[in-house]
Amino acid sequence: MSILNVRKLTKNFGGLTAVANLSMELNRGELVGLIGPNGAGKTTVFNLLTGIYHPSDGSIILEAGGQQLPLHGKKPYHICKAGVARTFQNIRLFKDLTVLDNVRIAMHQNLKYGLLSGFLHLPSFKREEKKLLNDAMELLRITKLDGKANELAKNLPYGEQRHLEIARALATKPVLLLLDEPAAGMNPAETAELTELIQWIRHEFDLTILLIEHDMSLVMKICERIYVLDYGMLIANGTPEEIKSNKRVVEAYLGEDVSNA
């Protein structure tokens, strides 16, 4: 059953076509990789999917709760509310705020008290804030950050900042999670731990995940299907095995080593 349907997606920046005629489909519960050389347009695809850029052409349809929601042309917070959350390649935490506040801010869209209650700290404020705190701490426990809830995000080590990005994305209660190079800059041990975390949250939160990553050991290990981009165009899609042996992919991106492996 399809959850995301991308048809003929195109994005032009002036004369440059960053993404050309891209079509892809994600099924519910799948873990799909999006790979390609630097500058292939992977992050642009994420920015289009999350509304940071508006597509020049094409459509993005999210199927959630039995409804077909067009996401193209929508604002980022609408898309987030519809159930698409993301992390950022160049970590974009609220770095001068605490770890806890980073997560609580992402929970704001499901807030159940109004401005008046915020001003006067009415009983509904106290009740909801308590619930918010519990939910946030639970997410921090999952990502092993509960001991650092009151530290500033900028003071976390790099690997934990990546974990916090994931916790923050989960706090928006997504159905589709987009991870932009979650393992970038991690050592093999940290990557292994992250791999486990990704697989665990996928089952626990019933998520569909689209993942951009350069670490092929991670991609080949956990992705069920892979899309390969080069110069903004889709050059291949298939199972890890098929991708490893695809000649165009090897030429454009993987190189000889992986195909021999």
Binding site: I52, K75, C80, F88, R92, D96, H108, Q109, G118, L132
Partner: protein, 322 residues
Amino acid sequence: MKKSIAVTPLRKGFALILTFIIVQLLVQLNIINDYLQATIATIGINIILAVSLNLITGFTGQFSLGHAGFMSIGAYACALTVMRVPTVWGFLTGLLLGAVLAALVGFLVGLSTLRLKGDYLAIATLGMSEIIRIIFTNLDITNGAAGLSGIPRFTNWTYLYLFMVSAILLISNFLKSSHGRACISIREDEIAAEAMGINTTKYKVTAFTIGAFCAGVAGALYAAYFYYIDPNTFGFLKSIDVLVIVVLGGLGSVSGSVLAAILLAVISTILQDFSDLRMVIYALLLIIIMIFRPQGLMGSKELSLKAFRNLGGFLSSRKGGK
């Protein structure tokens, strides 16, 4: 743990009421003379202005130079009402009217300058505030450049204190709520905030509206205290004055704004004796403070009873150690 949570709001309330009674007594016993009273009024009004500008600039990260404009709307609305209905109810109606009108303009300004950031936003809000000033200069009802004089005085220590404390408490409560965190996330990273589901448009406009409402209240209190207002009272320099308080106290610290408003008033009162060099020394002091505390007096931290208690514990443990 549970006990201290239950006691703290009571203590806070007690401290607030005690402060009010002490000053009220000093005023009545004439220990605080007219001149000091005027200084206190200025401090109170500046605190409301600074805390509300801090909400817009320090917490939501929207660099605004238009606060004097919002203030003038409150001042003129209240002055015109209270001159026609010189009763307490006239004053309170005028104050509310001024605050609501200022909030309305704040809403429109927030909405129309959404796409602007940083210096560009500062220039746009400055322009807006100048437009308001020029409108007041050219209207008949506001008596043009000559301004309004003979405004009855209704602002006293009670009203001043009531509105000042309300503004501080309501804004700090707001900032501690999820809505406040949404505003702060815009300052931290607007793109990430949007991607995490924050309607940044809504919260920028909310910050401008609340900020302008409070500035309107401050303007009304000003008009009903100093007998006289004219358009130039609310020029560019007034906005800068407020911004200086906010930056000096610390962008993102409510208690910083309160402290800085008091400190600056005290400094300029002391400097009254050095008439010629007054502004030079004032400016020098500002420069020196900013060199040694570039993040402002409080940075983005808040002053709290807990901080005092920790300080007390720290000092006594040091004494004990010796």
